[in-house]
């Protein structure tokens, strides 16, 4: 496989979260001071310091990582779509703290030679943890650059030995009405799916962390999928079951509005969402919109998966 733009960034070279947050805080406080001066009065102080999540490591750098500027940790962890915890972007950060991520198991079953259940702590040691700095493009027209921590989904799937009859992979996520929304906004539990070759693709990541730390709950702790060439909603959060199937699984957003969210949902600037354009996106933290790239800029790696397919019909 031809990999474009190999990156040689080591985790150690990445600005530690605390340090760049200090920079952000400095900038913000400078702004606050200025505003306070302009108003001639005091303004409320900045919010309390964030409680740091445990570190993950050691991490290896990945040639798949982009060298683009990363979206600040604060934005990545306060601007989320996780409808089980509320539909406002700020809701998951406020509500997902209720989710208990230990004990946690992931059942890998279906058309597999050796189906079994994995404990989350076993999963963390299953394969070498990598840092993968990926672009994330949301179907709503915004994007981020996130340094995920995890390993290829293929490493896990190989453990259960998929049968020849397995064609698709279904991801079922946690639905716990005790800590999550009881409103039938979507058909809970949230489920997603990939074709087996998509699931086995080296870019497809099982993520357990970001910014070198354990995944915050609002980002899909303790384990989530990251498929960087597809719209964000394909990357299911807080996974409890991974099922190998012979039929295309039903997926949450497709069930909610099937003419708006297709099974593939590959990032494609030429195929608009029926209600908004997908030609451009706003990178969080940037002012001007930027053009959206085919397959979110991963065409080099994944375009071959869809050769001969009508991507307009299979949106």
């Amino acid at each position: 496989m031809l990999i474009q733009r190999p990156s040689d960034i080591l985790p150690s070279e990445i600005t530690p979260r605390a340090r760049f947050e200090d920079r952000r805080r400095f900038l913000r406080d400078a702004g606050l001071l200025f505003a306070a001066g302009a108003l001639g009065g005091a303004l409320p102080s900045a919010e309390a310091a964030t409680n740091a999540a445990p570190k993950l490591g050691p991490l290896t750098a990945s040639p798949f990582s982009t060298s683009e500027e990363k979206t600040p940790y604060k934005a990545v962890t306060t601007y989320n779509n996780y409808y089980e915890f509320g539909t406002d972007k700020s809701d998951p950060a406020e509500n997902a703290g209720r989710l208990a991520t230990r004990p946690w198991t992931v059942r890998v079953e279906g058309f597999a030679g050796k189906p079994r259940t994995f404990d989350i702590d076993e999963l963390l040691r299953l394969a070498p943890l990598e840092e993968r700095i990926y672009r994330l493009r949301c179907v709503e027209g915004w994007s981020m650059v996130i340094p995920w921590v995890g390993f290829p989904l293929a490493s896990l799937l190989k453990q259960v030995e998929p049968l020849g009859s397995a064609k698709y992979v279904e991801f079922v996520t946690l639905y716990d009405p005790k800590v999550m929304s009881r409103l039938p906004v979507l058909d809970w539990p949230y489920a997603e799916g990939l074709r087996l070759d998509e699931a086995m693709h080296p870019l497809t990541l099982l993520a357990m962390g970001l910014y070198g730390e354990v995944l915050p709950n609002q980002n899909g702790a303790p384990i989530r999928l990251v498929v960087p060439w597809k719209y964000g909603f394909k990357s299911a959060k807080s996974i409890v079951t991974i099922r190998l199937t012979d039929k295309q699984p039903a997926t949450a957003w497709n069930k909610a509005a099937k003419h708006e969210y297709g099974f593939y949902s590959n990032v494609n600037p030429q195929v608009d969402h029926p209600r908004w354009s997908q030609a451009t996106e706003r990178r969080i933290g940037e002012f001007r919109k930027r053009p959206t790239l085919m397959f979110n800029g991963y065409a080099e790696q994944v375009a071959s998966l869809y050769q001969g397919m009508d991507l307009r019909a299979n949106f």
């Binding site: 505003a35 934005a75 608009d272 209600r275 933290g285």
Partner: protein
């Protein structure tokens, strides 16, 4: 005090208006401060777009509340605040459109034209704001005199249609959770049903009044020319 509430003096009205004006500016001020202090979240442009849209719709509904409030409380002077509220709805609507054209699309006129023509939720939102423009332009005493009360009122009744377009605009842009647009829809429906009911009452009242029948009872005095 009671007297002031029932019938405030000219000066008191002026003060009430000034206070209301300041109050109506608060949401805009909060956004401006938030933008300056970077407290509008990870996507400030989206926050401003949402907030200005929310406040357009809210001011439209508040404006439509004036008449019921006046009728229920008997405080007729409330009517004198309606114009300002309506103009604030328009102002927030303009801010909403400006945010979209400037901050969101950054004057990409092709993309904007495409959006207005192809995306139904933008089409109805844009239509609502266009339809609000003549109402804003005629929200002054001169226009009322110029048009005449009847015509002016007919024109300004289009605000009901505009409010419906506004709610539809919101409903169509939501991905799955329609609770909030539904709240606005219920509020608007109530305000419209109330008016329909009043109209019906008025119609019945007019029907109930017997038409003036020529009276034949009593003495009839004939006035006939008399020859001399």
């Amino acid at each position: 005090m009671m007297n002031m509430l029932q019938m405030p003096s000219r000066t008191q009205i002026a003060w009430i208006k000034a206070a209301l004006f300041a109050l109506c500016l608060l949401p805009a001020l909060r956004l401006a401060l938030g933008w300056h202090n970077d407290t509008l979240g990870a996507n400030p442009i989206e926050t401003i777009t949402r907030a200005s849209g929310d406040w357009t719709l809210r001011f439209l509904l508040i404006t439509l509340c004036v008449t019921p409030l006046r009728r229920f409380t008997g405080l007729n002077w409330l009517l004198r605040l309606r114009r300002m509220l309506g103009l604030f709805a328009f102002a927030y609507g303009c801010a909403h459109l400006t945010t979209y054209v400037w901050l969101d699309q950054f004057f990409d006129w092709m993309a904007i034209a495409h959006d207005i023509l192809k995306r139904p939720f933008i089409t109805v939102g844009f239509a609502a704001l266009v339809l609000m423009t003549p109402l804003a332009l005629t929200s002054n005493a001169w226009s009322i005199r110029r048009l005449g009360g009847r015509k002016w009122q007919a024109l300004h009744r289009s605000v009901y249609g505009i409010a419906i377009l506004g709610v539809v605009h919101y409903w169509w842009l939501v991905k799955a959770d329609v609770r909030e647009p539904m709240l606005y829809a219920f509020a608007l429906a109530w305000l419209l049903v109330l008016r329909a009911w009043w109209r019906e009452l008025e119609r019945r009242r007019q029907q109930a009044v017997p038409p003036p029948v020529p009276a034949y009872k009593g003495r009839v005095i004939r006035i006939v020319p008399t020859g001399k």
